[in-house]
């Protein structure tokens, strides 16, 4: 290891910990930083901006050490892939615990994907921090919230929470960077939950609003479902491989020797098999337990020969497919967590509701970074996924993509349109990853982060100006808010994938979407009977994307103002908000471009981190599935038609949106009446909320109701009556005490007192009287004694 290679983890580690420092500072000193905590924003922004500078420095260092290979349009990536695995730095800073071969610690796994994620997250975060300074300025003074009415109908008045907002943002940045940096699955899981907590806190930022607190709970609970699956996946990995670490790690074995133990990636794709997928030994042994027992018995429990015999049999068992199921379970489990976090099909419901949070939060967490973490994790675990798991990923992504895009077509809330768009784009990423297009999916993650955070920030600017989310009350804002309108148009063009086909020049979304559609087409070519479905959905999705996104733009900015009052009060946002918009708009255009005249850019950088290609193209359970190599999608026979079809679909979507909402050639009302059934279906979001409410939420609530009733009527009653009887016994005791015990004691005391009073009179203080008493007493004593003496004598006689 050279000094430089040690510097990159340190730089990233520092970039990771800076937001934590900012969080701690704001927790303790936030309210005292300037008036109403005004300077807390500066602390948080400075921390994240410095983190970006450090990440960028680390990226430059990395590129100096690992120059990008020249792009090879011929598509001979397979040879490179077979020759070497992805370059990565892995290590551990601090071991929290060592349990046999399982090491849980704070470590790192750094490849060019990690570095690119670091730069993207810190950059987008910095922009959003700056934007939030403007957007959240109302929180500096007392806030009147009409959406949270009190019991008496008055709007709620509360103190501003400016510094708390930045405190949460800093915590989120720390968690997100930790998730990206993590060197083992346990650490991923911890930060996975931490970003979930931050998301919960920020969705419920306006916690006095019922809708916001419900949305926060919904996000949290739905994510738990996914995380449960993720825990199962982790358990499967741990039992099967004995480690949770991604990369190889050094350890000291029982004999005291320093050994290098293989991490997850090396076990699943060992160097001996040229990095082809192989079921790890541990999983094979777990699945062939009966055979192993037989061998151990046959060898009369002689450990050495039995071990040798088992090692000899492993290859045979593996070829029978033993242990393969466990690998599938591990992959599905990990993907389950990603489904929750990235709001994929069965668990997609929470993301649209999460729009209750402040708009910068929607941009940062629920568009650019946290929800993309699920896609990132799928990308990170790519070497572990079998074709079966990838097919599930593709199917889930496909369903999500279509479902969310269709709902976005009818939504009227500007943020909800964007939320469903986010879900749909995440579906695109999953679809690409599931069809074998690693680069396509991950590249879309990056380009989407740029243009979707831009779109959200623009919508925030509009909401800030209008005070409403409802698009039917907007319209004609183009002249009032030129910066917002133009930057949002750039975002819309980017998400629709605008560009010039065949010349390969376009907005960032153009490149990533083309890659995805081409990959789908490539998959169709290698899986004739059913593979076409993915391609058609991807193309239709491209058309729908263009349609709903331009519908949103036209409804907001074009045409005549529909609400004079709102239009009159609308105004362009301050510079602190528009400057981040312009920066992000620039990025949305150029993100996927290579630097002019060099081979350096996002695509070659990510290409370097590509995990080894899926070399068993056929699954064991599903032998019919063939995962195509990604470079096969780059050949002109596939890429050119895919490009043209995607462009055509987007164009049709754009033309439809323009016809309905731009030039008003057709009236949307007519279409609504014609397709009333479909419209209702879409407005009700496919009745998913109602379905879950009926199938899950209401039964659970009913059971909780029963349990609550048992508690109140049974257990509470019992405890109440126990308490009542104890109180009765105590009252009786009290009465007895007062009546008998106390009275007896008092009586003795009174009597003693009375006697004392009487005796007192004897002491007259007259000395001569005392002398007389003395004499009389003595005489009396003698008299008595002599009398008794005589009696005693008489008795003695």
């Amino acid at each position: 290891m050279t000094a430089n290679s040690n510097l990159i983890p340190s730089l990233l580690g520092l970039a990771w910990l800076l937001p934590l420092a900012s969080f701690v500072l704001i927790v303790f000193f936030g309210p005292r930083m300037g008036k109403a905590g005004k300077h807390a924003a500066l602390v948080a922004t400075a921390a994240i901006a410095t983190a970006f500078a450090l990440s960028f420095a680390a990226l430059v260092l990395w590129l100096l050490q690992n120059p990008l290979s020249a792009p090879n349009p011929g598509g001979h990536a397979a040879e490179r892939v077979a020759a070497e695995s992805a370059k990565a730095l892995s290590g551990e800073w601090y071991a929290l615990g060592v349990f046999g071969p399982l090491r849980i610690g704070i470590g790192y796994y750094i490849d060019s994907l990690t570095l690119a994620m670091f730069c993207m997250v810190t950059f987008v975060s910095s922009c959003i921090h700056v934007y939030s300074i403007g957007y959240m300025h109302e929180e500096l003074s007392e806030v009147v919230d009409p959406l949270a009415p009190l019991a008496n109908g008055q709007p709620l008045r509360r103190r501003g929470r400016f510094c708390r907002f930045f405190q949460y943002l800093s915590l989120f940045c720390f968690s997100m960077l930790g998730l990206v940096l993590a060197g083992n699955v346990a650490m991923v899981f911890v930060f996975w939950e931490l970003v979930g907590i931050c998301s919960y806190l920020l969705i419920g930022f306006y916690r006095e609003r019922t809708s916001a607190s419900n949305a926060g709970n919904k996000a949290f609970i739905v994510n738990r479902v996914g995380d449960f699956g993720m825990i199962i996946g982790m358990m499967a990995l741990w039992t099967g491989m004995g480690t949770l670490s991604f990369g190889d790690y050094r350890a000291v074995d029982t004999a005291g020797h320093r050994v290098t133990l293989p991490g997850i990636f090396s076990q699943v794709r060992p160097a001996e098999t040229k990095h082809q997928l192989q079921v790890p030994d541990g999983m094979v042994k777990l699945a062939s337990r009966p055979q192993i027992e037989r061998i151990v018995l046959a060898h009369r429990r002689d450990t050495r020969t039995a071990t040798a015999a088992i090692a000899g049999q492993l290859r045979g068992w593996r070829s029978q497919g033993l242990g393969y199921g466990l690998l599938v379970v591990a992959g599905l489990g990990i993907f389950c967590g990603c489904v929750g976090k990235s709001a994929q099909f069965p668990l997609h419901l929470w993301l649209p509701d999460a729009m209750e949070g402040p708009t910068p939060v929607s941009a940062l967490i629920h568009a650019a970074t946290m929800v993309a973490a699920g896609v990132y994790l799928v990308g990170r675990f790519y070497p572990v996924f079998t074709p079966e798991v990838l097919l599930v990923v593709a199917i889930v992504g496909c369903i999500t993509l279509f479902l969310a895009a269709s709902i976005a077509l009818t939504a009227t809330d500007i943020k909800r349109v964007l939320a469903y768009s986010t879900v749909s784009q995440l579906g695109y990423m999953m679809l690409a990853l599931g069809l074998g297009g690693w680069l396509a999916g991950i590249l879309h993650l990056f380009t989407h982060a740029c243009f979707k955070s831009l779109l959200f920030l623009c919508s925030g600017s509009v909401i800030h100006a209008c005070g409403t989310n409802e698009m039917p009350r907007m319209g004609g804002l183009l002249k009032k808010m030129p910066y917002t309108a133009i930057t949002m148009l750039v975002g819309c063009l980017a998400i629709a994938g605008a560009g010039v086909p065949l010349l390969a020049v376009g907005f960032s979304g153009f490149y990533s979407k083309d890659l995805i559609v081409a990959q789908a087409l490539s998959f169709r070519a290698s899986n004739p009977p059913f593979g076409g479905l993915f391609f058609y959905v991807a193309v239709i999705g491209a058309g729908m994307t263009a349609c709903y996104i331009f519908r949103m733009w036209y409804l907001t900015f074009a045409g005549e103002p529909r609400d004079e009052h709102i239009h009159h009060h609308a105004h362009e946002s301050p510079k602190v908000m528009t400057v981040p918009l312009v920066i992000l708009a620039t990025l949305s255009v150029v993100a996927a471009w290579n630097l002019f005249g060099t081979g350096y850019g996002l695509q070659p950088l990510l290409e370097q981190a590509r995990p080894v290609e899926q070399s068993i193209a056929h699954g064991v359970f599903l032998p019919g599935v063939t995962m195509p190599f990604e470079h096969e999608a780059h050949v002109p026979q596939i890429h050119t038609p895919a490009e043209l079809v995607a462009f055509l679909a987007a164009l049709i979507g754009f033309v439809l949106a323009t016809a309905f909402y731009g030039v008003r050639k057709w009236d949307p009302e007519d279409a609504r009446r014609t397709f009333a059934g479909i419209h209702r279906f879409l407005v009700h979001k496919w009745w998913f909320d109602e379905l879950y409410s009926f199938a899950l939420v209401r039964p659970v609530l009913r059971i909780s109701g029963w349990v609550a009733a048992c508690d109140q009527r049974g257990i509470d009653w019992l405890i109440d009556h126990l308490a009542i009887s104890v109180a009765a016994v105590a009252r009786f005791d009290d009465w007895f005490d007062r009546l008998f015990v106390d009275r007896l004691v008092n009586l003795v005391a009174q009597w003693t007192y009375a006697v004392g009073l009487r005796l007192r009179r004897l002491q007259t203080g007259n000395v001569r009287q005392y002398v007389m008493w003395l004499a009389v007493g003595t005489v009396m004593l003698f008299v008595v004694m002599s009398l008794y003496w005589n009696l005693a004598l008489a008795a003695g006689m």
Binding site: R761, L762, T764, G765, N766, V767, R768, V771, M772, A775
Partner: protein, 115 residues
């Protein structure tokens, strides 16, 4: 009942004298209002008792023989005399202070110790 007057001087005579002394002392204590008189009465009572001790302690008067020196009575009498002297000193000090505070030596006027 033998007549003391006709008998030779013996123990009974001593006892008679001591009883007279004791009763005189006692009457003096009980009747005198002057504190000094009361103190004198006490002296008489004590000396009456002393006389008893000496008489009982005398081998001659008892007429019998016994072991030891036979000085018990005399020794106790000496003790009593010493105690009486000490007691008189204390009592006179009290009397003097009583006089200083009350400008009288009448014991009937001293009633502060009444219960």
């Amino acid at each position: 009942m033998m007549n003391l007057l006709t008998q030779p001087v013996g123990l009974s005579h001593y006892l008679a004298v001591s009883a007279v002394l004791f009763v005189c002392g006692f009457l003096c204590m009980a009747t005198k209002r002057n504190i000094l008189g009361v103190l004198m009465g006490i002296e008489l009572v004590l000396n009456g008792a002393n006389l008893n001790f000496v008489a009982f302690g005398s081998r001659l008067l008892r007429g019998g023989t016994s072991d030891g020196l036979g000085l018990d009575g005399q020794a106790i009498a000496l003790f009593v005399i010493i105690l009486a002297a000490a007691e008189a000193a204390g009592a006179l000090a009290i009397a003097l202070n009583f006089y200083h505070t009350h400008a009288t030596v009448d014991v009937d006027r001293a009633e502060e110790l009444k219960g």
